[in-house]
C-alpha cells in the first residue's frame, strides 16, 4: 500500500480515532485506534475499497466476522465491531500487543518445548473454531500474533471464506494465483494442496497450514518455498518438505504428527482438529520424557527409530494400542514398548492377571452388554474360553494356580463388587469366602487371601480373612501384595464419590504409610518384581489415565502415556504388563413413540433440556473435546451442526426457546443467559449465593427457580426475577425445589426426610405427596398440571412413571435404554441428563459407555 494512502493520526472512522498504522498489506491496513465510547485502544482493520464486494457479500463478511468473534477463545482475536464509513469497510478488533509469528520466527528455530508451547495454543484455537464451524483458510505466521508472554492469538478468522477476491489475502511477499477453474484462496507456502487446485477447502486445510507453521517453528525454515510462487505451489502439490536435520531428530511421534498435518490428501489428515490438539498437548506435556526415552533407547539405531516412530504413530493415530501391527518385523531388542492386543470384544475388560506360567492370561469382561464373565486365553491365539460361573470376575490367581473370583459381580463403572470365592484354575465350583468384596489378592506363597470389603457402611482391609488390618469410612480399593508378602498396597479415596485417592502401603502389623497422591484420579496397582516400585494408573484430569511408577519414598515417574486412558492390570515377573486401554463416551439419545436417534455430538454430550415441541435440544459437552471445560450447545434433529452458545453447563431452555440458561462456575458460580439466536449473553448476579445447584424457568419466562446455598452454606430455593435480578427465598431452608408447576403458582420441593411437597407461592398450605416415594426423581410436570413424570432411580433401567397427583397412583409410561448395550456403564445418573416434553411424548437422555480391550505390553522399563 502506498504510504500516502494510510489514514493520518486523528482521522475518525465510524466513531474510532486513528492513532497510528500498525501494518499494511494488499487487503488494506491495520491501525492502532482509540474507541472514545469505551475509552480503550483497539486494532482497526480498514479494507481497501474493492477488497470486498458490497451489498450481500459485505453483509456476509460482517456476519462471518461476528461468528468468528463469538468463538470467545483466548487464542482467537476478538472482533468488537464492524462497519462501513465513506466507502471503507472496517473491522474493529481486540488490540494485541506483541509481534506477529512471522517476526517471532525470524529469531530462528525454537527449542522443542517452546515450539510445542506455541503450537498447542494454535491448535487449541483452531480446534475451537473448527468445532464452531469456522475455518480460517488463510492461516500463516502473519495471521498469528505472539504476545510478550508468548501467548498466541489468531487474527482474521473466518474472513477468507466469504471474500470474493483472493487479493484480500495476498501478503506483500507472497502472492496467490488464480487457476482457470477455481479461485485460489490462501497464501502461497501455507496453502493446502486442495486450495492450490482451487477445490473447496475445509478445516483440514487449516491443519495443513498449521503443519507448515509447526515445521517452521521447529526447523526455522519454511516447509514449502521456492523462488517463484508457481514453483512453490508445485512443491506443495508434489513434494515433501525438505529433510531438515532438526526435523529428522524429533521424537518420532512428533514427526508423525507433522507428517499427518502435511499429508497431500486431506483425508489423511486429522478428522478432527481437536484430536490434533489433544495429541499435541500429550506430546507437549511429555516432551521431556519423549526425548529422554528416545535418547536412551534409540540413538544410532535406525530400526529402533522406525519402530518407535511407527508405534507412536499408531498410538496417536487411533488412540488405541493397536500394537500387534505396530512394529512389523521389529525385534524385542529394538527397545520401544510393544503391544499385542489380547481381547477383541465390544465392551469392557474388568480385570486381568497373568497365570503362574506367564503364558496364560485370565481376565474378566462384559461384552455386548452381557453380565461379566471370566475367561482364560493364551498368548498363542486369540481364542478365549469361559472360566467359572457367569457373573464372576478374576480378582487374583495364586502361585499355585488357585483362582480368587468375585462372584455375582455388580459392576460399578468398570469394577466389580461381589462375593469372594476361590477355585482351582481348572475347576468349576468356587468356594465362597466373604461377601461385599471389592478387591482381593493372594499372598505370594499362595496360602492366604487379603481382601477389601464393605461392612456396616465402612471399608475394611482384611488379612487373613476374619482379621481386619485397617478400617475406615473412606472408600478403599485395588489391593496388591508386595512380592515378598510383607506389605500390601491399596488405594484410599478421600470421599466415596471421589477419584482422587492416596496410594498407601500397610505392613502386616497394620502400620500404614502413604506413598503417593496428588493425581485427579488414581486406580489399579501392581508391584514391580523387585518390590521397589508400585505402578498405578493415574491422571491429572478425569478420564485420562497414564501409567506411573511410585517408589516407597514417594518418588514418582511416568512410565507410559498415550492418548486416551490406560488401566494397568498386572505386571509379570519378567516385566511384561497387562494393560486395558479405554475409551469412555457420554452419548445422547432422542426418542419418541416412533423412533430413537443417536444425537451425540462430541465425546461427552450431556442432556440439559428439550424444547416444548421436542425438536430442539439443549446440551453441553465437558469431555476431552472441550478440554473438560463445559460448553453449551443447541442442536436440532436434522443433520445440521450443533451451535455453540457459550461456556458453562446448560440447564434449561426458556419457554419461548430464545434463551438458554447455563451455569458458569468461575470465578464464582453464577447463571448466564445465552441467546439461541441473535443477541448477546447476559450474566445474572448470584445475589450472594455461594453455590448454585440447579435452576429452571418459570412459565412466564421472566423468573427463574434457583436452588443453591446462601453465604452461610445453607441450601435453599429461590426465585429470581430476571429483569431486576432480585432474589427471593421460597419455601423453608433445606427444602430443595425441583419443578415449577405449569401455571407457575407452585413448585415441587423435596424434604430430605419427608419426601415431596407441592409448595404454593401464595401462602396457601403446602401439600405433601406422601404416596410419591422419595427415591423417585421428578422429571417433568404435565401440561395440565395433573401429573408428575418421575424416574424410578432405584431401577437399573430408566423407567418413566406418571404419578397422578390427585390419586397418588403411578403408571409406567416409558422405558429408555440405549440401542447398543455394549459398554454401557450408566444411564442418566445425575440430575438433568434426562429431559422430556410436558406431553410425555418425547424424551432425551444421556448414557455413558466405556469400551476397553486388553493388551500385553513388552518393553516397558521397570
Amino acid at each position: 500500500m502506498d504510504p500516502d494512502q494510510l489514514l493520518a493520526r486523528g482521522v475518525r472512522l465510524g466513531g474510532y480515532e486513528i492513532v497510528e498504522p500498525l501494518g499494511a498489506g494488499g487487503m488494506g491496513a491495520v491501525y492502532r485506534a482509540y474507541d472514545p465510547r469505551l475509552n480503550r485502544l483497539v486494532a482497526l482493520k480498514v479494507l481497501n475499497p474493492g477488497a470486498v464486494g458490497g451489498g450481500a457479500p459485505l453483509r456476509r463478511l460482517e456476519q462471518e466476522a461476528r461468528a468468528a468473534s463469538a468463538l470467545n477463545h483466548p487464542g482467537i482475536v476478538t472482533i468488537h465491531d464492524t462497519g462501513e464509513s465513506e466507502g471503507r469497510f472496517y473491522i474493529v478488533m481486540e488490540l494485541v500487543e506483541g509481534t506477529t509469528l512471522r517476526q517471532f520466527l525470524r529469531r530462528g528455530p525454537r527449542p522443542l518445548r517452546k515450539a510445542l508451547h506455541i503450537a498447542t495454543q494454535l491448535a487449541a484455537a483452531l480446534a475451537k473454531a473448527h468445532e464452531a464451524g469456522v475455518v480460517h483458510r488463510d492461516l500463516k505466521p502473519e495471521n498469528v500474533m505472539v504476545t510478550p508472554d508468548e501467548h498466541v492469538k489468531i487474527v482474521d478468522f473466518g474472513l477468507a471464506k466469504l471474500t470474493d477476491r483472493s487479493t484480500l489475502f495476498k501478503s506483500e511477499q507472497d502472492s496467490a494465483t488464480e487457476s482457470g477453474q477455481g479461485v485460489i484462496r490462501g497464501t502461497v507456502g501455507y496453502m493446502a494442496p486442495e486450495q492450490v487446485r482451487g477445490e473447496p477447502a475445509d478445516a483440514r486445510a487449516d491443519q495443513f497450514a498449521f503443519g507448515a507453521i509447526l515445521y517452521e517453528l521447529l526447523s526455522g525454515s519454511r516447509a514449502f518455498q521456492r523462488s517463484t510462487s508457481v514453483e512453490t505451489l508445485s512443491m506443495i502439490l508434489n513434494e515433501d518438505p525438505p529433510e531438515d536435520t532438526v526435523i529428522t531428530a524429533l521424537p518420532p511421534s512428533l514427526r508423525w504428527l507433522l507428517n499427518r498435518c502435511l499429508a497431500k490428501d486431506a483425508r489423511d489428515r486429522y478428522a478432527s482438529t481437536r484430536d490434533l490438539a489433544l495429541d499435541l498437548v500429550a506430546l507437549r506435556d511429555h516432551s521431556a520424557e519423549l526425548l529422554r526415552v528416545d535418547k536412551r533407547r534409540v540413538v544410532n539405531n535406525p530400526l529402533a527409530w522406525a519402530t518407535a516412530g511407527i508405534f507412536a504413530a499408531a498410538l496417536v493415530a487411533t488412540g488405541y494400542l493397536a500394537a500387534r501391527t505396530v512394529s512389523p518385523g521389529a525385534s524385542a531388542e529394538a527397545g520401544a514398548p510393544r503391544f499385542k492386543q489380547v481381547t477383541f470384544g465390544r465392551g469392557h475388560v474388568v480385570s486381568a492377571r497373568f497365570a503362574p506360567d506367564g503364558k496364560t492370561i485370565l481376565y474378566s469382561a462384559s461384552w455386548g452388554g452381557a453380565p461379566v464373565q471370566s475367561y482364560e486365553t493364551r498368548l498363542t491365539g486369540p481364542e478365549s474360553r469361559p472360566l467359572g460361573p457367569a457373573g464372576s470376575s478374576v480378582a487374583s490367581i495364586s502361585s499355585k494356580g488357585e483362582l480368587a473370583l468375585i462372584l455375582g459381580c455388580r459392576l460399578d463403572w468398570a469394577n466389580c463388587v461381589g462375593t469372594l470365592a476361590q477355585m482351582p484354575q481348572d475347576g468349576d465350583v468356587p468356594r465362597e469366602i466373604m461377601e461385599d468384596v471389592l478387591s482381593a489378592d493372594w499372598s505370594p506363597e499362595g496360602q492366604t487371601l487379603a481382601a477389601i470389603r464393605t461392612a456396616n457402611g465402612l471399608y475394611q482391609l482384611d488379612y487373613p480373612p476374619g482379621t481386619t488390618l485397617y478400617k475406615t469410612a473412606s472408600k478403599l480399593g485395588y489391593l496388591r501384595f508386595s512380592p515378598r508378602g510383607d506389605r500390601i498396597a491399596f488405594l484410599e479415596y478421600e470421599e466415596i464419590s471421589a477419584e482422587q485417592g492416596v496410594l498407601k502401603v500397610i505392613d502386616l502389623q497394620g502400620r500404614v504409610q502413604s506413598v503417593g497422591s496428588g493425581w485427579a484420579q488414581i486406580r489399579d496397582i501392581a508391584w514391580t518384581a523387585d518390590g521397589t516400585e508400585i505402578w498405578v494408573s493415574a491422571g491429572d484430569r478425569a478420564r485420562i489415565a497414564s501409567i506411573y511408577a511410585v517408589s516407597m519414598s514417594g518418588m514418582r515417574r511416568l512410565v507410559f502415556d498415550v492418548p486416551g486412558a490406560l488401566f494397568l492390570q498386572d505386571l509379570s515377573r519378567d516385566g511384561r504388563a497387562l494393560v486395558a486401554h479405554g475409551l469412555a463416551r457420554g452419548n445422547m439419545v432422542w426418542s419418541n413413540r416412533a423412533e430413537q436417534r443417536d444425537l451425540t455430538w462430541l465425546d461427552w454430550s450431556t442432556v440439559a433440556d428439550l424444547s416444548r415441541d421436542g425438536k430442539r435440544i439443549l446440551f453441553y459437552e465437558w469431555g476431552e473435546a472441550v478440554s473438560a471445560n463445559p460448553v453449551v450447545y443447541l442442536r436440532t434433529l436434522d443433520d445440521a451442526d450443533a451451535v455453540r452458545l457459550g461456556d458453562g453447563r446448560a440447564l434449561a431452555l426458556s419457554p419461548n426457546g430464545r434463551l438458554a440458561l447455563a451455569l458458569q462456575e468461575s470465578p464464582q458460580p453464577h447463571l448466564v443467559l445465552l441467546p439461541t439466536g441473535a443477541g448477546v449473553s447476559r450474566e445474572l448476579s448470584a445475589q450472594g449465593l455461594a453455590d448454585i445447584y440447579w435452576a429452571r424457568w418459570f412459565p412466564d419466562g421472566e423468573r427463574l427457580l434457583i436452588v443453591g446455598e446462601d453465604a452461610d452454606r445453607t441450601p435453599g430455593s429461590y426465585v429470581q426475577r430476571i429483569e431486576t435480578g432480585a432474589l427471593e427465598p421460597i419455601a423453608e431452608k433445606g427444602l430443595l425445589a425441583v419443578l415449577v408447576a405449569p401455571d407457575g403458582r407452585s413448585v415441587l420441593v423435596n424434604d430430605p426426610l419427608e419426601g415431596y411437597i407441592i409448595w404454593p407461592l401464595d401462602n396457601t398450605p403446602p401439600r405433601a405427596l406422601q404416596s410419591l416415594p422419595p427415591e423417585y426423581r421428578p422429571i417433568q410436570w404435565s401440561e395440565d398440571g395433573r401429573f408428575l413424570y418421575v424416574r424410578d432411580s432405584e431401577s437399573s433401567t430408566v423407567q418413566i412413571l406418571r404419578f397422578d397427583i390427585a390419586t397418588g397412583r403411578t403408571a409406567l409410561v416409558k422405558q429408555l435404554k440405549p440401542a447398543d448395550p455394549a459398554g454401557v456403564v450408566g444411564i442418566a445418573d445425575g440430575r438433568g441428563e434426562l429431559a422430556m416434553t410436558p406431553d410425555g411424548e418425547t424424551y432425551l437422555f444421556t448414557y455413558w459407555t466405556f469400551l476397553r480391550n486388553l493388551y500385553l505390553v513388552e518393553g516397558l522399563s521397570p
Binding site: 466415596i496 453447563r649 431452608k733 430443595l736 426426610l753 422419595p774 445425575g830 440430575r831
Partner: protein
C-alpha cells in the same frame, strides 16, 4: 414410625447411591444433589444444636474421633458444644438453646431421666461395646449412632432426632 424409618432408609439409599464411587465420574457431579449438598440440606431442614457430653474417661471421645464428628457437624451446618460435667450439661440445657444431647451409651442411661420431660432428644453412641452390649443398645435406644459409621448414616439419625423434638416444620 414405619414411614419415618422408610423415609430415613430411602434417604440413606439416596445418599449412598448419589455417592456411588465412579458412577458420578460419568454423570454430572456438580448438579447432583448427593453428598455434602444433600447433607447440608438435611441439616438446614432439621437443624441441630448438639450438646456433646464427654465427661472424663468417656469413650465418647474415641467415638467422636472415629466419626470425625465435630468436623462433620460443622461442615453440614449444625451447631454444637462440648460439655464435660453434669453441671455444665444441666446449665446448657437450661439455656434452652439445644435440642440434641449426644452421649456414649455408658453415660446416656444416667441422662435419660433428666431429659425425659424436655424437648431435647438424646442420641446414644455405641462404641467399643461387647456384642451383648451392642445388641442391648440396639433395642434400648430410639436414636443410636454406631461408631465408626458413615457420616450420611449418623447425620440422618441426628435429623430424625431433631424431627422428633419439633415434628416436621411446616409453613405457617
Amino acid at each position: 414410625m414405619l414411614t419415618r424409618t422408610f423415609a430415613a432408609s430411602s434417604l440413606l439409599t439416596l445418599l449412598v447411591a448419589s455417592a456411588a464411587p465412579d458412577l458420578l465420574a460419568c454423570g454430572d457431579k456438580s448438579l447432583s444433589a448427593g453428598g455434602i449438598r444433600m447433607q447440608r440440606a438435611l441439616a438446614a431442614r432439621y437443624p441441630a444444636s448438639v450438646l456433646i457430653y464427654n465427661p472424663a474417661g468417656s469413650k465418647l471421645q474415641g467415638a467422636a474421633r472415629e466419626l470425625n464428628l465435630l468436623d462433620t457437624l460443622r461442615k453440614v451446618g449444625h451447631q454444637y458444644r462440648e460439655v464435660t460435667t453434669a453441671q455444665e450439661l444441666q446449665a446448657s440445657l437450661a439455656s434452652g438453646q439445644y435440642n440434641i444431647v449426644l452421649a456414649h451409651v455408658a453415660e446416656a442411661r444416667d441422662l435419660q431421666p433428666a431429659l425425659a420431660p424436655s424437648r431435647v432428644a438424646l442420641i446414644a453412641v455405641a462404641y467399643q461395646l461387647s456384642d451383648a452390649e451392642a445388641a442391648e443398645a440396639a433395642t434400648v435406644w430410639r436414636f443410636l449412632i454406631k461408631a465408626p459409621s458413615l457420616a450420611t448414616r449418623y447425620l440422618t439419625t441426628i435429623a430424625d432426632a431433631v424431627r422428633s423434638t419439633t415434628g416436621t416444620p411446616r409453613k405457617a
